[in-house]
């Protein structure tokens, strides 16, 4: 894969995410993740051999919390991201290819939906579903808005491809509408779809962490967002318990930087013109 | 122009888009450059204006205008030469006009950047005069490019090209993608403004009919090389190079329904040109010498040059 050497961003992205994966896997082997529950360790201990990431005020071992919480947050991101791109792609392809009323409806909903800040709608939903959310419910709530952006971008791409000559040749060669979408349009959009997926996973994670920081997340689960909520709740910063928030912050940084470089790398594959200037 | 060579660096190595081109342009003359796609005709036009964009570069040769070698000029001096002394009329199919600026402003910014200090009133008068000289109403100055038809846009480009009364006008396929009726109007406009200015015109294109009716002398390009240059009447009646002969023969005429005689084989790829004369694989009269030794451009008859061993 000589290609990877030239596409630096892709390499950096993959490296960051695989480092994170390694951390979680090794973590599960090394520490008992049940210690991420409150009162399973002496409170407010600075990082030590016994507790490499220290402990928080409710007595959670932060290393265990990170090891248990990271996959949870990533899971929310991936479920919501996948659902978002899945629905978005279906609507994007169908409305752009078949046009007509479906296209008008999709475009209208997307144009208006995107002007409404996603977080606020999520807050409204989360506030009303007060009785404790599970991680999966969280993913579905986030997914309910995550499809808007993918639908818009994929629709725009399909609209431009739809006018190409080879689509008409395919139609005249006897291919049906759905066959054309799958066999003629989709292969050209694969790198672009991958970039859209990574992008929507990243914004889904951002939305879920946002909700959790506002206290609307699954209260007792050790996700990264909830850890930040307790950091804020207990004013860890002012009390100088620096270890309490550096752990989640670093992990979140790695997650977002990894996903960002992955998106840029995939964008380069989708349209090589940009690479010339970097 | 003497021994002008332009090459492009491609992943598969350097490719010679224009290979040692030499020709002379006389004052007030209409010189044509004809050739099929990939023959290097547009490269020559852009090279004269020193506008070869990377990854292309001018390898060697000279381009002299009134004794001054343009290739050795400093960038700033070359910039001043453009439009003032050598003007370009872009391709008809390109959207060469800035979509968000009015036509009048696109004439004025050229005047301003060439330090033409005039009052607003004089400037607007000049714009009106230029537009009317190319057959456009003066209201066009206030209009945007998307409000004009293809033909009107080309006329606006001609107005810009002649705004500083240049000595040479280079028209690179000025009427490509225009309808035949509009094409005739645009070419008549170009002919008239050329006569008023006494400028010489280099017309680059592939439409032999257009060349036959417009230019005085014609150069034929093939695979980046100039293979024939003669007065246009000589080219049409007794062309020297086999490629020219076959090209003329393949043109559909309106007189009689002849048989179709195309040129067999494929246009050579500039990356792997055959040795010797580039046309020899497709040439019916090719001999061994053609396959090994590249023919130079010789004056076979007074003012008629050809690059072929058999002539």
């Amino acid at each position: 894969m000589g290609y990877l050497r030239r596409n630096l961003s892709l390499v950096v992205g993959i490296a960051l995410l695989s480092a994170l994966g390694l951390f979680v896997i090794i973590g599960h082997l090394v520490v008992d993740t049940s210690k991420s529950r409150p009162l399973s360790a002496p409170a407010v201990q600075a990082p030590s051999l016994a507790h490499p990431f220290g402990t928080d005020r409710q007595g959670r071992d932060l290393f265990a919390t990170m090891v248990a919480g990271t996959p949870l947050t990533l899971r929310i991101g991936f479920i919501a991201g996948m659902l978002g791109v899945g629905i978005g792609a279906i609507l994007g392809f169908a409305s752009a290819y078949y046009r007509g009323r479906l296209d008008a409806v999709v475009r209208g909903v997307v144009d208006i939906g995107l002007t409404v800040p996603g977080l606020l709608v999520l807050i409204l939903i989360a506030v009303s579903l007060r009785r404790g959310l599970t991680v999966n419910q969280m993913a579905i709530i986030v997914a309910s808005l995550a499809w808007l952006n993918p639908a818009r971008t994929i629709r725009a791409q399909v609209l431009s491809l739809r006018e190409r000559g080879y689509v008409e040749v395919a139609r005249l060669s006897g291919m049906s509408g759905s066959e054309i979408i799958v066999k003629e349009l989709m292969p050209n959009l694969l790198p672009y779809l991958a970039a859209t997926l990574v992008n929507s996973v990243s914004s889904a994670i951002l939305a879920s962490i946002g909700l959790e920081v506002l206290g609307l997340g699954p209260i007792d689960s050790p996700t990264l967002g909830m850890t930040l909520y307790w950091v804020n709740f207990n004013a860890a910063l002012i009390n100088g318990w620096w270890w309490w928030w550096t752990a989640p912050i670093t992990i979140i940084l790695v997650v977002f930087l990894g996903l960002f470089f992955l998106t840029v790398g995939l964008d380069e594959i989708a349209n090589p013109r940009l690479r010339r200037v970097i | 122009m003497r021994e002008l060579t332009v090459s492009y660096d491609t992943p598969l190595g350097a490719v010679r888009a224009a290979d040692r081109i030499s020709f002379g342009l006389r004052a007030g003359e209409r010189l044509g450059f004809a050739g099929e796609s990939g023959s290097g005709k547009s490269t020559v036009a852009l090279a004269i204006l020193r506008m070869i964009q990377p990854p292309g570069r001018i390898e060697g040769g000279e381009v002299r205008l009134d004794g001054v070698d343009l290739l050795s000029l400093a960038d700033e001096d070359m910039r001043r030469v453009r439009l003032a002394r050598i003007a370009l009329i872009p391709q008809g199919s390109m959207n060469a006009l800035n979509p968000v600026l009015r036509i009048g402003d696109q004439i004025i910014d050229a005047l301003r950047d060439h330090e033409i200090r005039t009052s607003a009133r004089e400037r607007d008068a000049r714009v009106r005069e230029l537009l009317e000289s190319v057959g456009l109403r003066s209201e066009v100055a206030e209009m945007f490019p998307h409000e004009l038809s293809g033909g009107m846009k080309q006329r606006a480009c001609i107005a810009i090209a002649i705004s500083l009364r240049p000595r040479v006008i280079i028209a690179d396929e000025p009427t490509s993608a225009l309808d035949v009726v509009v094409q005739k109007q645009v070419m008549e406009t170009l002919a008239r403004v050329q006569k008023d200015l006494g400028a010489s015109v280099i017309l680059v294109g592939h439409d032999m009919g257009l060349m036959a009716q417009f230019v005085d002398r014609l150069g034929i390009m093939y695979a980046g090389r100039l293979i024939e240059a003669s007065p246009v009447r000589a080219i049409l009646t007794r062309s020297l190079h086999p490629y020219t002969r076959m090209l003329i023969a393949s043109l559909p005429s309106l007189e009689q329904k002849g048989t179709f005689n195309g040129i067999p084989g494929l246009i050579p790829l500039l990356r792997d040109l055959p040795p010797g004369c580039a046309f020899h694989p497709r040439c019916p009269d090719a001999v061994d010498r053609c396959r090994t030794e590249r023919p130079g451009l010789r004056e076979v008859r007074p003012d008629s040059w050809a690059a072929c061993h058999l002539v």
Binding site: Y166, G174, N188 | P252, L254, F260, I263, I267
Partner: protein, 337 residues
């Protein structure tokens, strides 16, 4: 005997969508019949915006007419059953203009040939499929081993266009719509493609609708010619008559505007530059009135109908109003050959 493919008073209006009230009349009451038993080459000539591509898309069933009908063997395209539609799709094929846009960059060029074979079940086995592909490629002057297995960007415009002709041949169609097939191909290769179109017509009995703005190639290849101006037929008839003795002012203007590769200099006239009049929009009357040198009062009142001025030619111009008008959906004017 019903005609193979026919447009009967076909009209197509493109409206600009919900908010854009300006609608453009692309094709206006156009009738043309393609008779399967006497395959001929019909050229449809017109400038950009004359509606010739719209006509092609209507005849291919890619768009439907706003008024009038498109009939395949007497049945309307919109109401045909799926089975009849498949037969129509096989019988009426296309060669597009842009050799660069018709190949999906993701696949090798073989995809363009194997798909129709698979979709229409043209070959029982892979070997048979490969044989018929080799056959059609050789028929258009391409060596299969040099062409198959390669990507479109590795081939020249001329090669790609010849592959499209081969694709059309594969399906053994009865009509081929060639929409400006040679306008983006170099002059030297243009002749070979036009030659293969004519051999397909002569030897395989395939009717060809040759759509172009280039009257010279139309003259060289076609038997009948239709001259379109802003969606309406202005002159239709035998190509020798129409080209050698054009009657409609627009046809005359078209012919006089073509620069011929001949030593005599007849093309350039030193006319003073009359400011280009914006072509005024004419909602009734002859559309060419705005530019017509011999315009008369009647031309502005109502649009002229087609007048049969010769056995093999009709003209839509009041200059010939005393000739009998062509009524109903006129058959293809009888061909002399």
């Amino acid at each position: 005997m019903t005609t193979l493919l026919e447009a009967r008073h076909a009209t197509r209006i493109f409206d600009g969508g919900y908010f854009d009230r300006t609608s453009t009349l692309a094709l206006d009451d156009f009738s043309l019949a393609i008779d399967g038993d006497r395959p001929s080459i019909i050229a449809v000539v017109g400038e950009s915006g004359s509606g010739k591509t719209t006509l092609a898309r209507l005849l291919l069933g890619l768009t439907s007419p706003t008024q009038g009908q498109i009939l395949y063997k007497g049945q309307e395209l919109q109401t045909m059953s799926r089975a009849v539609w498949r037969a129509f799709r096989r019988d009426v094929q296309v060669i597009f203009q842009d050799p660069y846009g018709v190949y999906n960059p993701f696949y090798r060029i073989d995809h363009v040939l194997t798909t129709p074979i698979a979709k229409f079940g043209l070959a029982a086995s892979r070997a048979e499929a490969r044989a018929s592909i080799d056959g059609v490629l050789r028929a258009v002057g391409l060596r299969p081993e040099e062409t198959l297995g390669r990507f479109a960007h590795q081939l020249s415009g001329g090669q790609r266009q010849r592959i499209m002709v081969a694709r059309a041949l594969l399906l053994r169609p009865r009509v081929i719509l060639a929409d400006e097939p040679v306008s983006m191909v170099d002059a030297s290769l243009r002749a070979t493609i036009l030659a293969s179109l004519r051999t397909m017509n002569r030897d395989l009995g395939i009717s060809i609708v040759y759509i172009t703005h280039d009257l010279a190639t139309a003259y060289q290849i076609s038997d009948t010619i239709v001259v379109l101006y802003r969606g309406s037929v202005v002159e239709i008839g035998d190509v020798e008559l129409v080209v050698k003795r054009p009657q409609h002012p627009y046809t005359q203007l078209l012919l006089s505007s073509i620069p011929l590769a001949s030593p005599e200099r007849t093309w350039m006239t030193e006319k003073p530059s009359t400011p280009v009049a914006a072509t005024e929009t004419i909602d009734h009357g002859c559309k060419f009135a705005g530019r017509c040198p011999s315009v008369a009062a009647s031309c502005r009142e109502s649009a002229p109908s087609l007048f049969q001025t010769d056995r093999d030619r009709a003209v839509a111009c009041y200059l010939y109003r005393d000739a009998p008008t062509v009524t109903g959906d006129h058959r293809q004017p009888g061909r002399s050959r």
